[in-house]
Amino acid sequence: MSAYLLHLAILGGIYVILAISLNLIIGYAGQVSLGHAAFFGIGAYVSALTSLHLNFPFPLAALSAILFSGGCGFLLGLPTLRLKEDYLAIVTLGFGVIVDLVFLNLEITGGPDGLAGIAPPRILGVSFRAPGMYLLLVLLAVILTLILTYRLVNSYHGRALRAIRDHEVTAQVMGINTPAYKVAIFTLAAALAGMAGSLYAHYITFINPESFGLHTSILALCMVVLGGMGSIAGAVVGALALTVLPEMLRQFKAYQDLIYGGLLVALLIWRPEGLLGKGKLSLKFISRE
């Protein structure tokens, strides 16, 4: 595999994890989230900072990223319980913007310059610096994510989440503890996004706030919508497509946005449920029923 293909595969794998985690929130539980990149960023920064300043070995740094990011997801999940969809959109959007500002303005995060010199992973003496090795590591994380999420969504949990998405009050009447599920899914999705962030940081070895802003949240959202709401395979396809597509369209750089926009519009017209999805993107928070 050429170095360039390897690079794309690694990034693609990382985005697959990010897209799957976001799909849990919007595709399965039917909740709006417009700031998911914040968790990706939190994972990246926590992993980078703990390895730079505390000399944490990679597994420990990654675990810190997962736990810290998951904790932030839990904390964001709590207040959102009381919010109707339109407010949830605003709160998650605001959360993304605030986290981005924190990265940009804190001294410890290096401000706009970010953090450099993040060590490539080394696990039990084995270095994963070589791209081929790194791809292996990412694949391992992807497979772990796939197994975990497949099991969850194909169990009674998945059904409970879809019940919440379809009709929250009725889900409660069925005995489904909807607040607990919503917080749990925000926590889990944030933890997985944190893991993706950690993998990103130790691969690129240099991070700055630019990678974790609103456009990354929107990109993740597009991956989910393109691949299909409420489908894990869809999230995989969507993430890979939107990692590779920009590269293929490079020579048409000037028209890139035009092509994207056209594709998205075409999708919404001909296949609003995405390539592999079942549910449609809930726009209830825009067009109130």
Partner: protein
């Protein structure tokens, strides 16, 4: 002991006294009819009992224990199940999956084990599916388990909602106008189904306008008007009660 006790239950919406000091009780195994003209406060009573809205006053007890401000999902676990006047199915699911949501409360495990549903969870799922298929059979939807829920005819959707509530294995099943919108054949099927439930000893609280159904099925009837109980008793007595007749017929004034 009384299964359900409703004590001075009150709900005001602004100036509207939708439910105004309602008290009644349901014994285990009883079939109780809750009737009254439109706007009498019947559905609001159900919403209060299932915990969807907080009362302005009064309380609801289950097996002698006050439910206080307990959330709907905890009330479901204590044994309350219900259907809705305007059918509320999970439209993104199949018929079978809808019934399976009723089994949720018995499938749940606590703590981090929930993250990794393993062999035990699969066995629970298999048991749940078995029960769900039995219930679909009972309500006459055995062939339609894999249909999308919203592909069912109206009468079938009503029966599916009942099957889903039964999957909760409730102590008390509350049905809000189960015959509404059904044609006479579907109403007969419903009557047969409800009679079967009665024979199984399931406790029912039924809101219904179809008097044949109420009179043929219920042990006792509670009559509401303007949010207040105006009569309680066996169907035969209720039918002759002048206040009931007036509430239903003497409206044009």
């Amino acid at each position: 002991m009384e299964l359900l006790t409703v004590n001075h239950l009150t709900k005001h919406f602004g100036g509207v006294k939708a439910v105004d000091g309602v008290s009644f009780a349901v014994e285990p195994g009883e079939i109780i009819g809750l009737i009254g003209p439109n706007g009498a406060g019947k559905t609001t009573c159900f919403n209060l009992i299932s915990g969807l809205i907080p009362p302005t006053g009064g309380e609801v007890s289950l097996q002698g224990e006050s439910l206080g401000t307990l959330a709907p999902y905890y009330r479901a676990r204590r044994g309350l199940a219900r259907t809705f006047q305007n059918i509320q199915l999970f439209s993104g699911m199949t018929v079978l999956e809808n019934v399976l949501t009723g089994c949720h409360q018995r499938q749940e495990v606590g703590g981090l084990r929930a993250l990794w549903p393993g062999a035990k969870a699969r066995r629970a799922e298999a048991r749940a599916e078995e029960l769900a298929r039995e219930l679909l059979e009972l309500v006459g939807l055995a062939e339609k388990g894999d249909f999308p829920a919203d592909a069912l005819a109206y009468g079938e959707q009503r029966r599916l909602e009942i099957a889903r509530a039964l999957a909760q294995e409730p102590q008390l099943l509350m049905l809000d106008e189960p015959a509404a919108g059904l044609n006479s054949r579907e109403t007969e099927d419903l009557m047969t189904l409800l009679t079967q439930l009665r024979e199984r000893g399931i406790t029912l609280l039924i809101i219904e306008h179809d008097m044949t159904l109420i009179m043929g099925l219920c042990h006792r009837v509670v009559v509401l008007d303007h949010g207040q109980v105006i009569a309680v008793g066996p169907p035969a007595t209720i039918r002759r009660d002048p206040r009931v007749i007036e509430a239903y017929l003497g409206r044009e004034d």
